[in-house]
Symmetry: C2
Amino acid sequence: MTIRTPFTTLFNIEHPIVSAPMGGVAGGALAAAVSNSGALGLVGGGYGDLDWLRRELTIVREATRKPWGVGVITWHANEAAVDLALSFEPPVFFLSFGDPRPYARRIKAKGVKLVCQVQDLASARLALEAGADALVAHGAEGGGHGATRGAMPLVPAVVDLAGKTPVLAAGGIADGRGLAAALMLGAAGALIGTRFYATIEAIGEAQAKRALVEASGDDTLRTRVFDMARNYDWPMQYTGRAINNEFSERWHGRENALQAQLPAEQARYQAAATVGNYDVKMVWASEAIDLICEVEPAANIVARVAAEAEALLKRAASVCAS
Amino acid sequence: MTIRTPFTTLFNIEHPIVSAPMGGVAGGALAAAVSNSGALGLVGGGYGDLDWLRRELTIVREATRKPWGVGVITWHANEAAVDLALSFEPPVFFLSFGDPRPYARRIKAKGVKLVCQVQDLASARLALEAGADALVAHGAEGGGHGATRGAMPLVPAVVDLAGKTPVLAAGGIADGRGLAAALMLGAAGALIGTRFYATIEAIGEAQAKRALVEASGDDTLRTRVFDMARNYDWPMQYTGRAINNEFSERWHGRENALQAQLPAEQARYQAAATVGNYDVKMVWASEAIDLICEVEPAANIVARVAAEAEALLKRAASVCAS
């Protein structure tokens, strides 16, 4: 048994599940493991380190014969990164955070399917104008960068706007309950991030993955302070959801004070990141970490999420009583 | 056909839908209309105006023989308001925003069912300790006061915590898709606010209700500036989601500047509120206003949301293909 949706049909995959292209976390090994499990694995091109991208795309292309994809941060992207990624002939290209139109033609001209992640109705309209083959309605509950709207109301509103273009739900989904809920909202599947960070295959330190298992969604916050510390000039509408730590406890809400001593704090952050001091270094995390109980192989997650969702959908009718 | 859940059974109602006790909006007429439609209608006791409460509770008690309820703002409540409400023998008492334990014993001693709205796992634990008969996992997408966590990940996490205690989902739900999604997340129903504000029976000016129809979820924001202008000293963890207007455009993010000239701005707000000037006066609104297309009788909404959800649940199994 599998769940068939317009997304699984169009993208030729078995399960309506996509792993998010988490920068620095979703390398070729994770993407290939997800794709080999029947879902769609994405490599996270992040800020466009070409050597990193070349290495990880080489890995994924060699490790799977199933559909896979690559994502970049749209506002930070450049033609070199996009062209390098396209040279690997990815079946799917994923653009998030910014106007996709400057790159859409180039991507679609190669016959590559374009998926655009959107955070509100305004960005959904841009993505449809860009000719996206599918949209991801991305709620603020998610880990890492995002905006303010929540998945529960955003998904059906984007579905209504998108017409026949399939929409995936993202933000706060980590198990089969979330996937089944996404389908009820009208989505054709779910994009899942943080749950795939807590896998064997994800790139990342054991301490960070363990934090995803141990912390609660109550402990996460959306903040700008880690981007300031890392010297990334994200557009103001995007913040990053991370597990609250000593650094964010100290500076979140005091961004002007942080700005006033930024060089010193950037140096302190860099030093902490180098030695894996997570009192200062951030761990991006979804509110859905409440639902994460162990670090495990990505294939287990794909199989379990799909099976849980299928079981829920199959017995959904039984709550309707005459 | 109706949807049966542990909540409908325990509260002896037909549909797993509850109308939120919106202060100043959910009076006796709305609560009675919702209850008479087979859902559970709640009167919003708000800040505890005893004359208002006595009038509206008199209305609801006379207008329905079905179960109904009354809610108060926990941190602002006092024994006079709680005892007045209890004197009307409400089948259900609803506490939100604050520690429910000081009032729980008094309420439950009367044989009244206690529902506690929670915004995170920490407040869910307090509600369980208070002996709540049901919890509402309340996402930040919702209109009016709320906190930061999103419904999509909060609902299943609260369900896991609550064990056999039924959990309703709230925040960003305005149609049958949202109710069906809530049930997939493990909830036993949905609490719906703003959708019931845009009804004939809700208390409120026509211009405010029209704004709910015309604005988009993209236009809403969580802010503290309207509480400052109205001189309500809400605990810092709670903000109110409203439609952005000239007042919030001017002051949101500049709360210190607003504080510095608060008496003048409070007077300006009061004057604008008196004449219904919505460039200044706020309209609380959920992100789900994208899904609201007209002001209509509450009974229509109950019937439609229930029917939509039933239809989705009944065909849910059909997306599972062998």
